[in-house]
């Protein structure tokens, strides 16, 4: 009897996951999507617990309880600025689960050679490499490790040799039951490659890498579906795999770079030479009260946030500024570059946290046409995404990168701690333009200063 119901439960769970992703396309239905996704997962777990081959419940229930007991506080206590780290950590755990299941299945000696073993090899390879890669990404985002790219001579050769070694041993296991050391060696190489993969990645490339790791975790789950002959795993894994892949493609396009360039290019290192030659050139700077006066007389303002806003935790002060300006009848919009921050959509989440209405957050293509008719472009903690050199200088490493056209606004104001170059290590032409004012200081304090001035002058 129960055998006839179980496929139905799995089918409903698949429908839940598909609807969950579908409803994410609109903020109005997105929360419904989360609920249907949760129902899908609940059905999947119940449907699995009811399967006749599952006879031993104690450890499963203890495991479910421990996992929930750690996961729930993690999700509720982490500050919103830490979402990229939390996502990386979450990837690590999911991928580790896939990897361990693959390992357990391997040592049961029931997986036949050929295609099923190939799926198992893919599952464990992606599982273990995503685990270590995500842990390194977490350490970099949490700044337990230097966020700068770490490179050494012959790095790509070493990394690719490690991957090739893992693939050779994995391929060997697919065709013959190799010696006892083969599988542990395979695991070690996979984990080592995961570390090598992320060590040379700098902070600004994290959005692409996190999306890519997301995709790997999905493909690992789908591969597990082939090992266990379980369609639900295949569907959920494939959905997640393609979601991660398409996001990383969007991120790459937004940086005008290819996958190989992100993973093996060590971008930050290439350009440091250019930054060193940048001479001291004069810039115009302004104080908070001058900036407040300019904003006060503007009719339209576009704010361009970047990672610096997240670091300074300036989003709540920006909300106060938004309120003060909106009250004066000034039109305030936010221009969000696709790769601003440390993960896709990072800025949107922080501004939403500060209660800024999401219909004021506009993506690059929607807002770029508005800059020539805008009185003030206020850049807060963004740098390379507003560098006009990307349009004009063919020799620049960022040439061709789509940017926000802040320089086309009547007045540009840039809040920045100092004149140090951004992640790409390239001088920003925007800072030296005649209509640009540099506002030197901490983003949070500076915005607070402007808000205070605006309140006083009214």
């Amino acid at each position: 009897m129960i055998e006839n119901v179980l496929p139905g439960i799995y089918l409903l769970a698949s429908v839940g996951f598909i609807l969950a992703v579908k409803w994410m396309n609109n903020p109005a239905t997105a929360r419904r999507g989360v609920i249907i996704g949760e129902i899908g997962m609940l059905l999947a777990v119940i449907g699995t617990l009811l399967r006749p081959e599952v006879v031993e419940y104690r450890w499963i229930l203890i495991g479910l309880a421990i996992g929930s007991a750690i996961g729930a506080p993690l999700a509720y206590l982490m500050p919103m600025t830490a979402v990229p780290q939390l996502t990386a950590l979450s990837h690590a755990f999911g991928a580790l689960a896939s990897a361990l299941i693959g390992t357990a299945a391997f040592y049961k000696n029931e997986v036949p050679l050929g295609f099923p073993m190939g799926a198992l090899v893919l599952e464990t390879l992606l599982g273990f490499l995503t685990t270590t890669a995500s842990i390194i990404a977490f350490a970099k985002l949490q700044e337990l490790m230097p966020t700068r790219p770490m490179t050494y001579k012959g790095q790509n050769v070493v990394s690719l040799s490690i991957l090739a070694g893992a693939i050779v041993i994995g391929g060997w296991m697919v065709v013959s039951p190799g010696p006892a050391w083969a599988f542990p060696a395979f695991i070690a190489l996979a984990m080592l490659f995961g570390i090598m993969l992320v060590i040379p990645i700098g902070g600004a490339d994290m959005p692409t890498v996190i999306a890519l790791l997301n995709s790997y975790a999905g493909v690992a789950a789908a591969a597990m579906g082939f090992v266990l002959n379980n369609q639900l795993l295949i569907i959920a894994g494939a959905l997640n795999g393609s979601a991660g892949l398409i996001l990383s493609i969007i991120m790459c396009k937004a940086m005008n770079r290819s996958f190989t360039n992100v993973l093996f290019g060590a971008f930050g290192q290439l350009a440091t030479g250019a930054a060193a030659t940048a001479a001291q050139r004069p810039v115009r700077s302004a104080t908070p009260d001058e900036a407040a006066a300019i904003l006060d007389s503007a009719r339209s303002v576009i704010v361009i946030p970047g990672y610096g806003m997240a670091v300074a935790q300036a989003q709540h002060k920006i909300r106060e500024l938004y309120d003060a300006l909106t009250k004066r009848g000034i039109d305030v919009k936010f221009a969000i570059h696709p790769v601003a921050g440390r993960m896709p959509g990072h800025m949107n989440v922080l501004l939403a946290e500060a209660d800024i209405p999401y219909d004021r957050l506009l993506e690059m293509d929607e807002i770029n046409g508005d800059f020539p008719n805008t009185d003030v472009a206020l850049v807060i903690g963004a740098n390379d995404v507003v560098n006009p050199l990307a349009r004009t200088d063919k020799t620049s490493p960022i040439y061709g990168t789509p940017i926000l056209d802040a320089d086309r606004a009547h007045t540009v104001m840039v809040i920045k701690r100092s004149m140090s170059p951004g992640f790409a290590g390239i001088d920003n032409e925007l800072y030296y333009m005649n209509n640009t004012l540099m506002l030197f200081g901490d983003a949070k304090n500076f915005v607070a200063g402007i808000v205070k001035e605006l309140a006083g002058s009214h």
């Binding site: 969950a20 992703v21 994410m24 396309n25 903020p27 997105a30 999507g33 989360v34 996704g37 899908g40 997962m41 777990v45 699995t48 081959e53 599952v54 006879v55 031993e56 419940y57 479910l64 929930s68 750690i70 996961g71 729930a72 999700a75 919103m80 939390l86 996502t87 979450s90 990837h91 755990f93 999911g94 580790l96 689960a97 361990l100 299941i101 390992t103 357990a104 049961k108 997301n214 999905g218 082939f226 002959n229 639900l232 295949i234 959920a236 894994g237 494939a238 959905l239 997640n240 795999g241 393609s242 398409i246 996001l247 969007i250 993960m343 896709p344 959509g345 949107n348 209405p357 993506e363």
Partner: protein, 98 residues
């Protein structure tokens, strides 16, 4: 048709469906989308339960399965809760004042 051939067709269709659905998600929601799909990839919990719950499993299988159940559950719970926490913050302009 062998079962894995069938699986490959399922994979292919689900991957295309995923592409079509995700392409329509606005960049506004890319972070919640990622944490949601992260939670969905924790479907590995199904495999973890199957491995841990079988009879005549060895100690090694038990231990690996048990750790996998913990990790996958952590991923499910953290993934869904953080997604919901983020989405709760997205509001339109002028929400009706109570």
């Amino acid at each position: 048709m062998k079962s894995y051939e069938f699986g490959l067709y399922v994979f292919m269709l689900a991957a295309f469906l995923g592409f079509e659905l995700v392409k329509r998600v606005s960049p506004l929601l890319h972070t919640p989308l990622m944490s949601l799909s992260n939670a969905i990839s924790a479907i590995a919990v199904v495999g973890a339960i199957l491995i841990t719950g079988q009879k005549d499993a060895t100690t090694l299988t038990h231990v690996l399965g048990f750790i996998a159940v913990i990790c996958a559950t952590l991923n499910v719970v953290a993934g869904y809760l953080i997604t919901d926490r983020m989405l709760k913050m997205f509001r339109k302009r002028e929400p009706d004042k109570k």
